[in-house]
Amino acid sequence: MSFDVNTILQLSVLALVAVAGTLVVLTRDPFSQTIGLSFFGLMLALMFFILQAPDVALSQIVVGAVALPLMVLLALARIRRQEFRREQKKGQEEKS
């Protein structure tokens, strides 16, 4: 087992991915979690790049760091709006 620069780089990026993934799981608020997910996606892209897979890294940057968090965010916004609406309706019923 040799520890040249490349190996150290690979090990640290693997550790970063593990830490970022754990942080995403430990975050409770879905909105902050989505931002964490975006960061995790970026770390994965970095990992692919360092492990000499630039082809995969290129798609991972866009899909993992932009497209996936965006879709989660949009879904969350939609859910929140529905909840807001339900509460308003409830409030109106209580008034009348």
């Binding site: 693997l14 550790a15 897979a53 082809d55 290129l58 949009l74 939609r78 609406r85 308003q88």
Partner: protein, 251 residues
């Protein structure tokens, strides 16, 4: 899920990660070259005139697998659109008496300037990635997702209405079908030329002076994939944005 159960599940995962991480340290890639990898590295350039071995594997040697992959994307997008469309139509009826909550924050000049200034370069970069698939890392999938972020930038800088104007849904749907079908048709051309399905039958071009046209069918397939992925992702984003924003009162 109860907390102890969750903790237990996490610990199983953590121990598994620790073991795999240890194994990864003990056997880092690089020293262990596979025979297949070495073969592809040696053959992809003289055989197919392709500089990027990954593209050679994806779109030539294992082109059939990638065809399946592309259709997975196609079907997923179609499925998502079908699901979202149903709820959208249903919602329209009960929308009349609904209350519109908070408006979106209007963009500052800085955001508008930067996103709109970046749209052009993003398109050029995406096209570059698509057509240079056989020369440098990249290709149809990678370039396609980059291209799909261009309309997203327009949405960020302008409004959903402008986004809808540049990505007219029927046009994008047809474009996606053309991209997905194009791949299969290029495969069939191999048959018609008296060879196998997806066989590289186009002229390979000059091996020593590679350009965007070298590689026979590979650049053509990359282009078809690029079109399919761009259209698919745009359609998906458009459907999601529509769901979230369409009836909010702003755009």
């Amino acid at each position: 899920m109860k907390y102890p159960l969750r903790l237990g599940l996490f610990l199983v995962g953590a121990i598994g990660l620790a073991i795999l991480y240890g194994l990864a340290i003990a056997r880092m890639p690089g020293e262990h070259e596979s025979l297949y990898g070495r073969l592809i590295n040696q053959l992809s350039q003289p055989q197919q005139h392709i500089r990027d071995a990954v593209t050679a594997v994806n779109f030539d040697y294992r082109g059939f697998d990638t065809l399946g992959e592309e259709f997975i994307l196609f079907i997923s997008v179609t499925g998502a659109i079908v699901l979202l469309r149903e709820t959208y139509e249903k919602k329209k009826e009960e929308q009349m008496d609904a209350i519109t909550p908070g408006r979106a924050v209007s963009q500052t000049d800085a955001v508008r300037t930067w996103t709109l200034a970046l749209t052009g370069p993003t398109v050029v970069f995406g096209v570059y990635i698509v057509i240079h698939g056989q020369l440098t890392p990249g290709g149809g999938f990678q370039g396609g997702v980059v291209l799909a972020t261009a309309p997203l930038l327009i949405y960020l800088g302008e409004s959903f209405e402008v986004f809808k104007r540049v990505t007219s849904t029927p046009l994008i749907e047809i474009t996606e079908a053309i991209g997905a079908g194009g791949y299969a048709i290029i495969g069939i051309i191999g048959w018609l030329a008296g060879s196998w399905f997806l066989q590289n039958v186009f002229p390979l071009g000059d091996q020593n002076n590679p350009s965007v046209f070298t590689g026979g069918t590979v650049p053509a397939i990359n282009l078809a994939t690029g079109i399919e992925v761009t259209a698919g992702f745009t359609l998906l984003l458009s459907a999601f944005l529509q769901q979230t924003l369409a009836d909010r009162g702003d755009s």
